[in-house]
Each structure stands twice: as C-alpha cells, then as structure tokens.
C-alpha cells in the first residue's frame, strides 16, 4: 500500500537534478510505492527546493536493505570524519 509514513525536514546543501545543481532546502523520506524501482515498496528520498517548483528535486528509490546500508554508511562516514577531525584538532594544539 501506500504506507503514508513520511518524514519531512529542512536541509542545507546542494543537489544535482534534471536541470543542474540547485540549493536544497527541504527533504522528504518515506516508505511507499516507487515510481521506477522494481520493488513493491521502497525507501524514497526527495531532496527538494520547492521555491523553484516541484521539478527541483532529486529522487532516490532504494530497497529497504539498500536504504539501511546507505544510512549506516552515512553515519559511519560522519562518525569517522568527526573522529579524525577531532584528532587533527587535538594534534595541532
């Protein structure tokens, strides 16, 4: 079904869509029917800039396993880069 489970929040960064790069302001995360992926349901992410219209969007449709792998990789990367940054700061003192 449509699970309707949706999270929306504001983001800061950029994304590259159909017409090039744009400054992203909003994100949606939901688990529902994909438009394109070959799965009944996917974890969908929209990185958006609604002030530029609905087409200012980068869309991801990932299987649940792929989405978890991506989320864990993101967190590991952030944690690791944070640890190294902290180490460098401490070393430079």
């Amino acid at each position: 079904m449509c699970t309707h489970v949706t999270e929306t929040f504001q983001v800061v960064g950029s994304a590259k869509g159909a017409t090039g790069w744009f400054r992203a302001t909003d994100a949606s995360v939901y688990f529902d029917h994909p438009s394109h992926a070959m799965a009944d349901h996917t974890l969908n992410v929209d990185i958006r800039r609604p002030s530029d219209g609905p087409a200012a969007r980068v869309a991801l449709e990932l299987t649940a396993a792929s989405a978890r792998a991506l989320a864990e990789a993101i967190l590991r990367t952030l944690d690791e880069s944070g640890r190294r940054t902290t180490t460098r700061v401490e070393t430079s003192r």
């Binding site: 449509c2 909003d26 438009s35």
Partner: protein, 252 residues
C-alpha cells in the same frame, strides 16, 4: 458491458478541464467510445503516486469496454506540465490532499460524465490504493451508482501523523448509498486480510449491497502490470468481476 467483445470499441482520449474544488480549474484525462449510443460513465481515481501513465491506461480500458471514463488529476494544483512523480512528491511533502478537495474534484468529474451527450445518467467510480480509500468515501459522499475499491488502505486502521488528511473511513459506512465491489490480495498488509474482514463486516452489518473478492498469492497493487506486484490471475479475474459488477448497474 464488457471488454470481451467480438468487435473492438473505437474510442478517443484527450485531456479535458473543468472546475473542481473551490472553482479551481483542474485537468482530467478522458476516454470515450466514438459510438453515439447511450452508456454509463466511470470515474477513475488515481493512486498516491499520481496521475500517471498507469492511471490513464485504466481510463482507456474502461473506454475500450464501452464506458465513458475520466480520471481527474487530483494534483492539478501543483501546476501545469509537472511530471506525475514530481507532483506526487510535492503533494506528499505538503501533507497530502484533503478529502474535501478530492470529493469536490470527483464530483466535478461525475458532472462532466453526466453532461456528455452519450450519458445514460449512471456513473460509477473505481480507485486503487489511496484511490481505493477515496472510492469508499465517494460511495458514502457522492451520488454514484456503483463503487469499486481495489485494496484501499486506511479505510480502517490508524492514520499516520505525517498525513493527517488520511483519516479512517469505517465510521462512514452507514452513509454508503450504492453497491460496492471490493477486490483485495491476501498478501497485502495495507489493508491486512483482517482489516478487509472488518470492512466487509461493517458493510454487511449496515445492510449494504457489497461483494468482496480476495486473492491468494496477491498483495497490494496486483492490477499494476508495470510493477512486481502484478499477478496476472488475480488481475484478470478482477477485471471480470469489474465488468460483471458494472454491467447491470451502469448499463442503459
């Protein structure tokens, strides 16, 4: 009427416009047989992923079976020339479309069909997924002669806080004023088989004219040939049930 005819039904399809909720002009996809005989009409309510090619294919299939058919773009207000998936993403981010707006847009589609020179005055509606839920609401809200619910979620259950517009409808069952056909997959989790039983019981307890069919080995979206959920046996039997249900209720 049925699509199983000795002679193919020629039809035309086009994008039309009419005033919907609050008078806003909305677009709709219409397909109508070229024959001038009187016939019933069908409103197709698109699913949450939007006013997409699959929804338009449904419209054409009803025209091929001899009905005037139309699918209002419930996301028209996002803007013209917006791709269906972008429109659906924008609508979702904004919390969905209110039921009141959907009912007014569907009412406009019903008026469009009844205003056609070929109309016999009878109109049914069909919806899949979120459209199945909305078809249930149409049956309880608008003057239609038949309603078909294909795996409509959130007729019973709890609305997610992120989409407060999707309120459960089971308490509206007593208001249903037309025969209702329900088609569901037993592998579906939205609605679950238990929830389908609850809906059927509510309809029966309220003395409503309803007919439910459930398919083993099928889940949500089994009518969708472009998706992995497609189940040809369930879909073909479902189409036969649709023609058998609509024929006596929308026929001349």
């Amino acid at each position: 009427m049925t699509e199983d005819r000795a002679v193919d039904t020629a039809f035309i399809s086009e994008t039309v416009q009419f005033p919907g909720h609050d008078g806003a002009v909305i677009e709709a996809y219409a397909a109508r047989p070229t024959a001038t005989s009187r016939r019933g009409g069908v409103v197709v309510i698109h699913h949450l992923p939007g006013y997409d090619r699959e929804s338009k294919e449904f419209v054409r299939r009803f025209a091929d079976a001899g009905y005037d058919a139309v699918c209002p773009n419930l996301y028209s207000r996002v803007g013209a020339d917006v791709s269906p998936d972008d429109a659906a993403a924008a609508v979702r981010a904004d919390g969905g479309v209110p039921d009141e707006q959907v009912m007014a847009d569907v009412a406009a589609a019903i008026s469009y069909l009844r205003g056609l020179p070929t109309s016999n005055g009878k109109v049914g509606c069909i919806g899949h997924c979120s459209g199945g839920r909305q078809s249930y609401l149409v049956a309880a809200t608008l003057p239609v002669d038949a309603a078909i619910v294909c795996y409509g979620g959130l007729i019973v259950g709890e609305a997610p806080p992120q989409l407060p517009t999707m309120v459960p409808l089971i308490d509206r069952t007593q208001e249903i004023s037309c025969p209702l056909l329900g088609l569901f997959g037993n592998d579906d989790q939205f609605p679950t088989p238990d929830q389908v039983d609850q809906i059927e019981k509510a309809l029966n307890d309220a003395g409503k004219d309803c007919e439910f069919h459930r398919y083993d080995g099928a889940g949500h979206g089994f009518f969708s040939p472009d998706r992995p959920a497609y189940r040809v046996e369930a879909a073909l039997d479902g189409w036969d049930r649709i023609w058998a249900f609509l024929g006596p209720r929308l026929g001349g």
